[in-house]
Symmetry: D2
Subunit: 483 residues, 4 copies
């Protein structure tokens, strides 16, 4: 079964680690949550879970694989997910096959009753908190950061779920957006810097929380607003209440959401993601013009930037690479001595379009550079006379510690060599990345404010807005697995 | 497990029923065949099979689902597919869940030894042949046309496999491309009108046969040529031999291969499919100009035509609809009274791109019209001020009997109402289909030759090049299933 | 899944290859057939199939594994098995993992309509018939003898199903009991020598055919009579008709059915199987008395003979070996250097019962002798002071060609060495087999009639009642598999 | 898959809830544990788990179904269970489908390192302890009593694992035998009354702990001794240490282990189980003699008592009921109006043995009486002229709270009606249960000591040796499930 589900790990990208979704106020809460998670599948493809609450009991179902594999509306588990509140989570796993116990939402019975939590982000003081909890007798059942928050809530001496949750969140450091169910309430929170997204919508009388607006669209909910950095919203039968429990911090929304993570049809923090990508492409065309016959996107993530580039440069946009959307990674013969590589499972040159042409390839980012090299080779084999690569992000030279799966620094090609050397390595005639200020211009800012950057851009600049545990800057934390 | 695999039946298209692939002359014949079938997955997504021959024994593996699910190179069944010859088949089933016995290639032990056959197309005299064979004592194990051919070969009194196969083919009527293994040979055949495609490639010393050139590309084979209509090629250790066993007929290649079936990166009968689609789009722009702000493709099949249209009309091309490539059909709640429809599982309006804009939607065809209506509604809900629909094919008013899955005539919207009425039905401000002569112009012809059309275009014109069994013109043949 | 089902191959026995069951005249025909097959599971544990007929359509379901795994009454396949007639088959496979296409009943559409057949036995002229059918254009879809019969029926020029079936059966040689559905009839046949059993029962208005009477008991049917050797019964809405289409032959019922194959609660050819086994035990006690403290059965097949022995010898009967009925073969570590052998997965000495005692072990037969040796060792390790083995059959020195799975002659220990040498090999203080005449006495005969033996006892005597194809006497026929 | 595994719930017995096994000192510790669990499968058939420790890491595998289904020695999970220490557990679930998180051993990372625990028994103060732990911030991941013990160990302020475990055990009340791994040690404990069994064995240098001696036999270990009531043994590289940490209590070993739970080849507390059962049968023959022709055991559990009865009464022992060991419960048609009942799936009358005979049926116990009635009917239908039932235990009139699955009192037939009324209800000519003193005599005691009974016999007498939580005596505790 797990052989069927897939993660396009081989496509050389950073990966968002999670999606969250929650809804309050409809008897079909779990179906809507499944739909929302389906729309947010790109943020986590390894496993999914839904927990619902019917006013009396909690119901849960979790499964490895895509949402569509595990939450068939006609299946018994799905029909058991009764209730007017539900939350859900898509997981992207970095540590081998997802164990079921690591699939969120995490649910448990606390002293005040049931509690279910789903979390997108990463705690930077997780190891220390966990050690301290274990030392004083807490038993962990998963290796997730999420469970740390639940233990802190369980241990809190505050009265009331909201206060206990605030008490717990004040002890954690890191980036997070979260949704939880407790005491007949749906609660949503964004961390004080607002690194990860969380939006609020309304569908008839029901309130919806979703990582992105595309999760609202699929259930027919209207967008209300983004949650503010550091905001907690508590939704119950009396309506919605907003609380600002933390000391105010400057907003540092993850700029990579615009570059790659979010779906192009989502609107985050007031910006349409498609529009943002086209603007980056246009800015890139201005910064690094080159004469060519075609602008070709690396599918599918490079499309909007390529369209923006082509329009700005007035060069024809063409589909010079065709993507096979079926999953083929598993049947590559290991003994084939590399002649049929994994890139061919997904991409093929559209030779009748590129033969004899000077081609500008537009991609969103380069991480290890392995895929880029193969695609360039493919273009040349198809008869392209020149291949120029334009990248819709600055060089990625630092790992992320805020909920994104990134390789260690020594595997980031841009951290290891100059742009010229990368150009040679991947075999292009020219290579340009957008400048950091160009990126900010595409976002509608005059430039990056070095004293207080308008976004989290640590992967490009190393300027981490939230302090890291000792040793974190050198190497990413392994989440570990209790065997 | 089968719940996971999918066919996007709901997207209101005709569907090619099969892909075939064969290779002679490499010890990795079955791995290459799996790769080829993966590249040809769009022609049949229900089930796949591979048969190989190692000079002594035949080996077979068949499975319901995608190629990637069934032909993992590390699996025991795949490793058992030894040999220097292999053929493979992707099946698109019209009759409920594919039974394993209906999955091709069909293999059997005949008097002269093992015989394996895979077939793309449809026999128009199948019912009569089958009845006659059963009457005289043949046992059928499947409901496929393919088995009819094998029985005819088994019954033939000719000497030698090629002669027996020719003897059998002379008794059948219909459209077919086929590959078979027998007597240490790989044989490929196209029917006398060449309705379905079949191309020849070469990879080092190995010969490759594939429904489309994208199947050659993935295995690194070079394109040699299309097989001719009515040609049989016999490949063995002495090389390749071409035979023209049938009376010559005018070529009637299926024009819908260019419109929708084939992959855009394939080159068939000397035309690049991507280029052909762009030309149709351009021709469409000329024929049915309308003032608008954006040209928006209905993804993914409308993309090339939309690019051609936008370039010809000089209107910006934008991704106004975003497609979710994950499979979500299965978890739609049946009790939801249609509020969340199946189109939303796959498509979402890119509202920041289309709001306030006059939009030209470009799609390849309209079959029942159900999807079109929902997409138009979606555009309007996202704020489009005008929605014009342009279709890159003439109205489809007749079913196909040559290997394509089409609804009966009474379900074809264009067979039931005028273009104006369709426009009202799907809710657009204007609607145009390309003219039949415009379509031929896009193919590089001056116009359609009504006396001897250059292509099979029966779905548009009702001009069927191969005679139909009595009753076929009224209703499509049901293939039936022996329970 | 197949790992779960099991055949106790390791227990060193001959194995019956099949069970058949059929019922006419109840709307719950398939449920009764599933029940009957469950009661007959001991005759075939690898795979099962049921075909039903509802007056219009045939319905089939087949599965690898036990009946209980594949025919859950609440499952969709089972509920689709509608109709007033059903036949079923349990298969015991000798050639690797059962392929679904080899699972009976075999069903096909012949010129006169649907035809389904299930068969217990083995054809001795199968290879010749098959070759001749293939030569003249028949396609085989399985490697079963059963399909040969169906082809012969399909080719017959006789009128009417019964006549065609008789025509076909006159061409075959071998042992068979069979049930079939055709033309709204249930037909049952036993071969002219009546080698394999087939009994007739009645349940209200429904007629039942079953390999053994235990299949009647479970569905609440009353035993009517055994079919006669060479008899065909045709059951339809007018009732039951008996036909004797073959030249009369002397009855040669398989004597091993009494020794081991049949269930002890079955009654075959007028003899209760339990009673027959007790009589053999009693005869054995008379023939080969030895002083001892306990009579211990090798479970479970040795129980009735041991009870008979103990009662005749007036020595206490004790359960000195305890059988674990759970399946444990699969988790034996191959690297354990034989210290934990497969016998321990199933048997353990009851040491408190046997320690310090002189033990008579009673088993039904010895084939290879491997298990016997381990059990004797186990008895001695548990403290038995003497171990005497008594075998409730004569030495098995010849393979069976009539539907029983037996090793080749060179693996039959009794064909390779004397009784004294076997005793040494398996480590007993004394060993006796019942004499062939003693066996016949236990069956109620005065002695074996050497001119025309009352039973088929070829495995003991080499006196094969049905002629074997050339070469068969030297080596058993491999059934072969079309890959 | 779960459909394949089975519990013979329908056979109207009390059921032991668990088996435990542990081994220290062999590199094949997990294979031996799998073998031991296989031998102990009768004590828990729903799910199994093994945890091993290799000196550095813990490894775990758990699965629903039989040991043989989940612990194939060649499977990847099994090969990952490395180490010189392993413990294992078979689970018998009373609350629907076993969730994986409830499958023992329970393993967790405590402040001092990994800790794994498997437990046979039941805590009588579980609800109170659990509530208190949750109140103070503990998160529970299962609904097992076992986890309570682990939380208490995690919370203990004692130094050293043994002391922490003792500290935890002093807080619990109930019956338990347990094995655990921590700090490179294997620890075994029996509760102060020694209600549940636990034996110590030795295999070369390795120490083995097992619920019964049959678990020692299968791995070739020699029996050393039973653990004493209240004894803790700590096994590490220095050898074995015995500790008696609790205040001494009178031994109250569960007498039902001899009647039904334990395997007949096990030896517990110095008594061979087979011998004990035969003695009960003999005592029963003395107490309640009746003239009859046959003694027939209800298979399989009634066999030893029936043999004892037959020998004492000098009446022939016969297999009058034949058991089908294949699993058939799942395919009973619910709509069959009871005509084919579940008893027929497992049992059939051996009619040739019982027809015309006066039969004494010997069974070990009667719980609800439903099965007994059907078996008596079956005997009469097969022609038995008289049916007398003799039960090898006193009437069961109270539920068990010490780790045995029993119905509530209102479902215990003997708690609801007199012996005469039961006889009428189940339709026998006479019915006798062994007397409580007769049972003690069979155990070798002069009689039951009412002041301090030598065994726990609360299910017969209501004399519960360990105090029950309020409300427990009225109704069994539901273990509950956190959804």
């Amino acid at each position: 079964m797990t052989g069927v589900s897939t993660n396009p790990f081989d496509d050389d990208h950073f990966h968002e680690e999670c999606a969250i979704f929650g809804i309050y106020g409809t008897p079909e809460s779990s179906v809507h949550t499944a739909l929302g998670l389906h729309a947010l599948q790109h943020r986590g493809q390894e496993a999914s879970g839904i927990v619902s609450f019917d006013g009396k009991d909690f119901h849960a179902h979790r499964g490895v694989g895509h949402v569509g594999e595990n939450f068939d509306a006609n299946s018994a588990p799905m029909q058991a997910l009764k209730g007017h509140i539900a939350i859900g989570h898509n997981r992207y796993s970095t540590t081998g096959p997802s164990e079921v116990r690591n699939i969120q939402p995490f649910s448990s019975e606390l002293a005040f009753g049931g509690f279910a939590l789903a979390h997108n982000g990463n705690l930077t003081n997780a190891a220390r908190l966990r050690a301290s909890l274990v030392e004083t007798g807490s038993l962990f059942q998963s290796s997730t950061d999420t469970e740390i928050i639940v233990h802190l809530v369980a241990r809190s001496h505050q009265q009331g779920v909201s206060n206990r949750l605030i008490d717990a969140l004040k002890q954690i450091e890191g980036a997070y957006s979260l949704v939880c169910i407790a005491d007949d309430m749906l609660i949503g929170v964004r961390d004080p810097h607002g690194v990860r997204p969380l939006v609020l919508g309304k569908r008839d009388d029901a309130y919806v929380l979703s990582s992105e607006t595309c999760g609202l669209d699929i259930v027919g909910a209207e967008f209300v607003r983004d949650l503010l950095p550091g905001e907690m919203v508590v939704i119950d039968k009396t309506g919605i209440t907003s609380i600002m429990p933390f000391q105010e911090q400057p907003s540092r929304f993850c700029i990579f959401e615009y570059i790659y993570f979010a779906r192009p049809d989502s609107i985050l923090e007031g910006r349409g993601v498609y529009h943002a990508r086209k603007s980056i492409g246009a800015e890139l065309a201005t910064e690094s013009h080159v004469d060519a016959d075609l602008v070709v996107p690396v599918p599918d993530s490079g499309l909007p930037a390529a369209i923006g580039y082509a329009q700005a440069a007035n060069i024809p946009f063409e589909l010079g690479i065709i993507r096979n959307h079926y999953i083929g990674r598993t049947f590559i013969q290991p003994t084939q001595k590399g002649r049929t590589d994994s890139v061919k499972m997904k991409h093929n040159a559209n030779s009748s379009a590129v033969a004899g042409k000077r081609v500008i390839l537009v991609d969103d980012s380069i991480v290890r550079g392995t895929t880029s090299r193969k695609i360039v080779l493919m273009m040349r084999a198809a008869g392209a006379t020149e291949v120029h690569m334009r990248i819709a992000s600055p060089p990625t030279i630092n790992p992320c510690f805020y909920g994104v799966d990134t390789p260690d620094k020594d595997q980031l090609i841009a951290a290891q060599m100059s742009v010229d050397d990368i150009a040679k390595e991947i075999g292009v005639d020219s290579l340009s990345f957008i400048s950091i200020d160009g990126l900010y211009r595409a976002m509608g800012e005059a430039r990056r404010d070095p004293d207080c950057p308008q976004f989290c851009d640590a992967c490009f600049t190393g300027d981490y807005p939230i302090k890291l545990a000792t040793g974190l800057s050198a190497k990413r934390v392994s989440h570990g697995v209790i065997n």
